[in-house]
Symmetry: C2
Subunit: 191 residues, 2 copies
């Protein structure tokens, strides 16, 4: 077993390190030199896989998207089959995220905050939020909400608020409050 485990071990190491560092300090707060030093990869190798730093940032955001969206769906699924329960249950992902060591809010919002609107990073963030909201709209429809668009917006607002609060102090109480609010709003919208 030499190095055929994955097609590109160095690439994976880079992405893993970038994930950790970018999330902790923000993409702009981490230099390329730090990434290569901590991942033990040569600079030329990095630039072969990711020609510009932004390409690495975008790959990082894709990784975050998969991870976070996955957690959200898993938490919803764990709440049962009723879409109404799922809309509330997804907040368990927020609660556990707040408890996780090193939680620092939403990687997308943090990244978007330090880029000019119109950048690729900005666009990718908007896209991510749109995908999540579309999923919530679907849940809201199946839950029988009178105005699924409105309910979905309110739910995602609560999620984003909880994530934003997490940049400051990762207080699980805020996440619990969001969950309770979601419950009330879902009841209201389906009554």
């Amino acid at each position: 077993m030499t190095a055929a485990d994955t097609p590109h071990p160095a690439r994976d190491r880079l992405l893993g390190t970038a994930f950790r560092l970018f999330y902790a300090h923000g993409p702009r707060g981490v230099g390329i030199d730090t990434v290569i030093a901590e991942s033990g990869v040569a600079k030329a190798t990095l630039y072969k896989h990711f020609p510009r730093k932004d390409d690495l940032v975008l790959a990082y955001l894709d990784k975050v998207d998969q991870a976070w969206f996955g957690q959200l769906r898993a938490a919803a699924r764990a709440a049962g089959d009723d879409p109404r329960e799922q809309l509330v249950g997804m907040f368990d992902a927020l609660v556990s995220a707040c408890r996780r060591e090193g939680f620092h809010g939403c990687a997308f919002i943090n990244a978007a905050a330090e880029t000019n609107a119109g950048s690729e990073i900005h666009a990718r963030t908007v896209e991510h939020k749109a995908v999540v909201r579309a999923w919530v709209v679907d849940l809201a429809q199946r839950a029988g909400a009178r105005d699924p668009q409105m309910l979905a917006r309110q739910i995602t607002l609560l999620v984003d608020g909880g994530l934003a609060a997490g940049v400051l102090d990762a207080d699980p109480a805020a996440a619990e409050a969001a969950k309770q609010a979601a419950g009330a709003l879902v009841d209201e919208a389906c009554r």
Copy 2:
């Protein structure tokens, strides 16, 4: 009338320019050279008033705090004397903020996103959010909420969510959804 209008005209010009630039691009995205060029102030003058760049950033955040908190209170007051109405009315500040040209989310969250936890800027942000929440807790108490702490947290979550969404697309629909959600939560909490 020479230059005795204000004690320090250059300082005011610096702060005004910093406010505009820091809010648009994030403190880390704006160099000192840009600030002095756009405000027409000498570098030495800047460093006399603000020994470190962070001091300028903190002064900027104080300015934001006054402005935003003022808008929030004004919107609440405009909604009438009933604390219940005020809890909902404050969201009009969010709605108009979203409509304003160049709206770019919450300056505090954006600033905090690009600093390591533990920095002065981070602390100032936490403080700001605590002050706002304390004010909302007071309103919730006077509104007769069963659990004022909980309601206040939910209201501030919605505000922060709306502000965070504003980093991406300043959609007034999100702010309106937040306002409606606040109404439902207030009703629920005071029933």
